[in-house]
């Protein structure tokens, strides 16, 4: 069963077994505005939870994307090179950033489930 969890920095990770797909939430893409470039981590690289994993450039500014959990990057979304707008149009689907082999599944416990994240976002305003 796959489950989507969220961070306070508005990243999501969709967990399937010991791998996760990572992207940013609908709230995040809306806040960023039109995305024009995405810099993704290299396949095979190791990243630590909370470390900078990717960069999203909107028209106005660059924003850092942080790894929700530690692990090894096993895939990066090559489609975003030609069509960064996917991050805006389908942030939870085709706008995914990278896939990661999760080193410590226990780190997922600290993340918010969808309902908690929804409340968290509502509380931001």
């Amino acid at each position: 069963m796959s489950e989507r969890k969220f961070t306070e920095d508005h990243e999501w990770i969709l967990v399937e077994g010991d791998t996760g797909t990572v992207g940013i939430s609908d709230y995040a893409q809306e806040q960023l505005g039109d995305v024009v470039f995405v810099e993704l981590p290299a396949e095979g690289s190791s990243i630590d939870k909370g470390a900078q994993a990717a960069t999203v450039e909107s028209v106005k500014a660059a924003s850092e994307i942080y790894a929700p959990v530690s692990g090894e990057v096993i895939a990066a979304n090559g489609d975003l090179a030609d069509d960064p707008a996917k991050v805006n149009s389908d942030p939870l689907g085709d706008g995914w950033f990278f896939k990661i082999k999760i080193a410590d599944p226990g780190q997922l416990d600290a993340l918010m489930d969808e309902a908690s994240y929804k409340s968290y976002v509502e509380g931001l305003h």
Binding site: G33, V36, F37, E39, E57, V59, K60, A62
Partner: protein, 374 residues
């Protein structure tokens, strides 16, 4: 609401911006819309393809009156104001003692006064500067009760033809008093986008009705400050505080076209403004660095502040404006480089997040202008 928010000012169109879904951000002490729900890319395209309506009421509008007004203004700018024909608008620069730029602005001879529009971030300083130097026989009025709207794009003329036919007689960089939808306005055919368009000064209490009337036209949509920046960058236009500031002279900035012949060494009224010695010397001898257009080779935007290196890694300049150019379809930038490397085609390296990005010097503008010259 934070204490910072409490200090932000609002233009007469604030309520309209909120109603239109504008995302409000602080800018030059005002709450301004950076974009509307359509987003910056669509708003930018709207302006290049149809017409965009911008609220620029945060900018400073001033009237200089009196027999000595033009002569007094000439004491502060390297521009011909004394012989500015009635109805003509001119781009001008306040300079400082070392030839640096205090602000860039537009001045129009409105017949019985000079109509001046200055940058929002500089309006308090510019007003103080003028008051300190204008002297007798010249009065300065701050038009705090007026709004300023910009209608820009290829469809702007057709819209004005319907609402204010008199305005369509204007050519680029001219202005006149024109009634629009029953409201007495002062209109200039100019802007900050590279497109044909009009800037409309209207009484604040009529601004919302005027904006609604313009937005009721199919071809017109609201455009925020985000797209205003990408439009002017593609047009190669300077943003004060970034591409020009107190440390850049008009010669270094590539604005020699704005330095009127009458105020040059061989002109009728040479010098006579702050920094004239430096500027006239630079006109004669050249400068060590120059503003240039820059085109990154890849897709990574290269932004304000990025260092520029030559291919050997030596620091040779700095980016002063940069971002994504929607009409160009890729990143664009402007910056200063050593004069020897300012030739279009020169390959340089920009540092972005500690990584080298190839970048090339290119001619400005990135997008050809569509001014209506008649």
């Amino acid at each position: 609401m934070t204490s910072q928010d409490a200090e932000l000012r609002r233009t007469p169109l604030y309520d309209l911006h909120r109603e239109l879904g504008g995302r409000m951000v602080p800018f030059a002490g005002y709450e301004m819309p950076v974009q509307y729900p359509s987003g910056i890319l669509k708003e930018h395209a709207q302006t290049r393809e149809r017409a965009g309506l911008f609220d620029v009421s945060h900018m400073g509008q001033l009237r200089l009156r009196g027999a000595r007004a033009a002569a007094a203004l000439e004491n502060l700018v390297p521009v011909d104001v004394v012989d500015l024909p009635v109805g003509q608008q001119r781009y001008a620069l306040f300079t400082n003692e070392v030839g640096g730029i205090l602000d860039d602005f537009m001045a129009t001879n409105a017949g019985d006064h000079l109509f001046v529009v200055v940058n929002a971030a500089c309006k308090a300083a510019d007003t103080a500067h003028l008051r300190a130097h204008l002297g007798a026989g010249c009065e300065l009025e701050e038009l705090t009760g007026r709004a300023l709207l910009a209608l820009q794009g290829p469809a702007a003329a057709a819209v004005m033809a319907r609402l204010a036919p008199a305005a369509t007689g204007l050519v680029f960089m001219t202005g006149a008093a024109v009634e629009i939808d029953g409201t007495p306005c002062f209109v200039t055919r100019s802007g900050y986008t590279g497109e044909d368009g009009f800037e409309i000064s209207a009484p604040a209490e009529r601004a919302e009705a005027l904006a609604r009337r313009l937005l009721a036209e199919d071809a017109v949509a609201p455009v925020g400050l985000g797209a205003r920046d990408s439009l002017r960058l593609e047009a190669g236009l300077c943003l004060y505080g970034h591409d020009i500031d107190t440390q850049t002279t008009p010669v270094e900035a590539g604005l020699t076209w704005a330095l009127s012949k009458a105020r040059r060494a061989e002109g009728a009224r040479p010098g006579g403004y702050p920094g004239a010695e430096t500027i006239l010397r630079q006109l004669a001898e050249g400068v060590r660095r120059r503003r240039v257009g820059l085109r990154p080779a890849g897709r990574v935007p290269v932004r304000d502040g990025a260092p520029l290196l030559d291919e050997s890694g030596r620091a040779v300049g700095r980016v002063t404006s940069g971002g994504f150019g929607p009409s160009v379809g890729g990143p664009v930038a402007m910056g200063y480089v050593e004069t020897a490397l300012a030739k279009p085609g020169t390959r340089l390296v920009a540092t972005v997040r500690d990584k080298p990005q190839e970048i090339e010097v290119v001619r400005l503008p990135f997008v050809a202008p569509n001014y209506h010259r008649g």
